[in-house]
Symmetry: none
Subunit: 188 residues, 4 copies
């Protein structure tokens, strides 16, 4: 990704996160990137192409980082904890990207169906970790697929919390508390 393309990429994330896919205009993106509108079309075929590019790049980064973080951990419980931690950190490090995803998850447009597939794929990955832990008796037996969604839902909690109480919380505290809730629940 050269410099111009990168600045378009980053501007698009910012603009999509502020205005949503349909609300964002190519003018907004070009202005924010500091390039002429025509330049967008030199680097991307269309608005939708930019969107898809953002999603696929973003998902790749997440997948890689999760893999890297977990690869050397042997203990399955630690693995889950690390998984939680890295996921939540990523939400905080890529707020705008997550906002784009969250807002585009719903709906029946093609790009949205593709995004859902992409997330579905990702959740199936989490599921694998959960099944491992189940097999070893670390976590409750149950439908791993469903549990994976709960896991994913936690990201949402964190994102909404951050969205509404912008920057007020302490990242470390939020992450540790959430991991606690996921594993042990809130009951005393």
């Amino acid at each position: 990704m050269n410099k111009t393309k990168k600045s378009i990429f980053q501007s698009a994330i910012k603009i999509f996160s502020d205005k949503g896919y349909d609300g964002a205009t190519m003018d907004d993106i070009a202005a924010n990137a500091g390039v002429a509108k025509g330049t967008l079309y030199y680097h991307f075929k269309s608005k939708e192409e930019i969107f898809k590019y953002i999603i696929s790049e973003g998902m790749n980064v997440i997948r890689e980082q999760v893999e890297d973080a977990v690869v050397d951990v042997k203990n399955p419980l630690d693995k889950l904890k690390i998984l939680c931690k890295i996921q939540l950190s990523l939400v905080y490090q890529n707020r705008d990207f997550f906002k784009v995803m969250m807002s585009q998850l719903w709906g029946k447009e093609l790009r949205q169906l593709e995004l859902r597939d992409s997330i579905h794929e990702y959740i199936k990955n989490i599921q694998v970790y959960l099944e491992e832990a189940m097999d070893q008796g670390i976590i409750k037996k149950g439908e791993a697929s469903f549990m994976a969604y709960t896991f994913f839902g936690t990201l949402f909690s964190a994102a909404v919390y951050e969205l509404i109480n912008e920057g007020k919380g302490d990242l470390e505290y939020v992450i540790d508390t959430l991991i606690g809730y996921i594993l042990e629940g809130i009951e005393a």
Copy 2:
């Protein structure tokens, strides 16, 4: 709300949930409601007005139903369980409304800021229930505000699960399992 207004209201929820706020057109809404476009403007000042109306009506329904369900329950743990249950049921009964909310939660448009305020208000209500339960030692001590977001995040899990695996799950099972996760965690 007279008949015409109601059919506009319901169509708008459907269309907004399929296409998002900006993606939805007034033509879509009118066609779906079976009225002429001008009729939309006879009953609502603007597209944004329709949106706001949907949100405020929807939130009222939720608030009322939650209150009704919980009012006669004395035991604080039962109260939390009922709270969970009713919330999740509402997600399933008003899928489209929730999709609209979820997709419009993000972003910086006025309507979105207002929606966030509205949800913030609702979460503060949940917080009150949690504080009660904390005081009575039923649930872990901690920042009730933050815990309320976790609670809310569960709705999201359920919504995404339902969204991706459309109708495949058994509502009762989903609800009971989720309540279990929230209270006791996933750890064995």
Copy 3:
């Protein structure tokens, strides 16, 4: 003209004078008249019909008043003076009506062509008075038709003056001064 029709008539003059023909809406007129929109259509066939009615009623009033004022005056110079005076008074008494006329005089819409015909007719009336005075050697010989327009232009001066310096001037002074200018010019 019954009470309802009259209030529509007067509201229409007011609204047309504030917003012009195209800028005025039937809603504006109805609201200002304190009746429902449908009521306008009970009394008038269309917006254009209201406009035409206003113009024809207005011109009638002017014609009558001018005639009445001049009928008993024998001396042709006095006649001209009276003519000036009454015309100018009418401008001041029917500001809104004149604004409607002035703004609709231009353009190529049917209603505007008709209005121009109407005014042309009126100016030809003035011309008759001028020809009388010319014949008797009271005023300069010349093309009476053209002189009549000058006469009419004076109304415009007065109207613009009043429009820009709203109500500041003394009516009597304005009228007397203008008559002086018309008859004797501004040269010392």
Copy 4:
């Protein structure tokens, strides 16, 4: 002003003069200019912006031409005559522009209030010439401000005359006669 912008500018004057501000459509203007509708918005922010641009450009032209014509004339009476002459010529050369002004002078819309301010400013300029001539005893003593409106009203006479008797009159004759009326009146 580049070529495209200029053709939009000229079309707008034509269309506004035929149909008035509200009656004119952007489609009309675009078609007349031979450009796509979007092109109007590439060069002007809105319909109102086009209007304001026309007025300010038009007033500038008038101001400049009047100044140029008068600057070398020393004799104050000649100055007034030239002033009359140039003003009247401008009316004839810019018929459409004047029609736009005349029709938009009335009413209470923002653009109209601004137009009135603009004209008020212009009339104050005329007033200066009149005051000079008054000081030198060339014209009658009196309220110069008011006299300036009379002067301006003459433009109106000429415009209406031209409007109703399209092109029939001889420009030179009309101008000379009007100057005569203004300075010496119509009385014999």
